[in-house]
């Protein structure tokens, strides 16, 4: 039976490097993608995912099991770090680099994906988080409710609202995107 995040955390606080490595392998990829989708920058995503774990291993880590899951805590740290980066100014590198490796580039234009990324970045945090977690990470409503600390009903209604906002923003792209639905 796999050890829980919290158990790994307790072990890593005692200096167990294997536990830390396991925790990193388990949570870093999703945190990186979350930061990538939120910031639109792979540089920021790298930095944020790295810093989350630096903070976790540091003496200042304020994770308290009684207040929520470790996963929720990690996303919270990532979210705050991204906010700090955003306050420092726009980072425009990212998505273009991602598009270079677009394996479905024949089906969809770079412009379309860039517009979707942009629309996602411009959304309020509360909507963007549920879109990323529910639709891009394909997490269940229950998981997302636990991560963001809101009831399932709130997660569902936010997601529906977020999708409606995105659809409205991307309406002008509908014609070329129809290729995808074939």
């Amino acid at each position: 039976m796999p050890r829980s995040d919290e158990e790994l955390y307790r072990l890593m606080r005692k200096g167990d490097q294997d536990a830390f490595a396991e925790l990193y392998e388990r949570r870093e990829p999703a945190l990186y993608r979350y930061a990538l989708h939120t910031s639109g920058s792979s540089i920021v995503a790298e930095e944020v995912a790295h810093e989350v774990f630096v903070q976790l291993m540091g003496a200042g880590a304020r994770f308290d099991e009684r207040r929520g899951s470790l996963e929720s805590y990690l996303y919270g740290v990532a979210r705050n770090l991204i906010r700090v980066v955003r306050r420092q100014g726009p980072v425009e590198e990212a998505i273009d680099r991602a598009v270079e490796h677009d394996i479905l580039g024949d089906l969809i234009s770079n412009e379309t994906m860039a517009a979707l990324h942009r629309a996602l970045r411009e959304m309020p945090d509360r909507y963007r988080d549920v879109v990323i977690l529910c639709d891009l990470e394909e997490r269940s409503y229950e998981d997302v409710a636990r991560i963001i600390g809101h009831p399932i009903g709130t997660v569902r209604s936010r997601l529906h609202r977020a999708r409606a906002l995105l659809s409205a923003k991307l309406k002008w792209l509908n014609a070329p995107a129809e290729v995808l639905s074939r």
Binding site: A21, V54, M57, H160, L166, S167
Partner: protein, 209 residues
Amino acid sequence: MNCKERTAEIVEYARRRAEPDMELRAHLATCSGCGERWEAERQLTSRFRIMRIRAEARRAPEARRESLMRDFAHRHRRAPMPAWVWALSAAAALLFAALLGHAARNRLHERAVPAIRTHGAGAQQTIFYEASTDASALSGDDDFIALPYAPPLAAGELIRVVHADLDRDVLASMGIDVDPSWESELPAEVVVGEDGLPRALRIADNTQF
């Protein structure tokens, strides 16, 4: 079910990339608003899918991971040092306390008159003399009473004269006859050898005998 209520259904079907059931399909065929929403939701799901596929392969470079692991190892390599320091400090403190206790006990032993203290008498003052002969030499002119059964003093042995208040039991234990009706303590000077045993005593107030 009205269009607003249908929206949640439309979103969930589109998210699952499932075909709508007959009832919803019939509604979509007749309601242009819901039909548009259905198309928009399907397209959004397709785009998200592409985004997800693209992002799935992406993650931080291995160098980041290695750097973190090195950092972790470095932090925790240093961590045991304070524990060792603490352990050593604690051991040193214990050793110091033990030595201090031993020294204090020796000092008390030097100062105390075990035979008298054991019997509950309070020593008040100590004067040192060098014995020229045994304790019986103290008796006579100086009013010292040699205690029966006391071991003799060695020549040159350092003796002390201890001023103490002795009760009846202490005097009796020294082999001194005391009036049984006497209750109070009596001021006395006790000659004590280097071994701490009393050898002679002089009662300051002998009206009780």
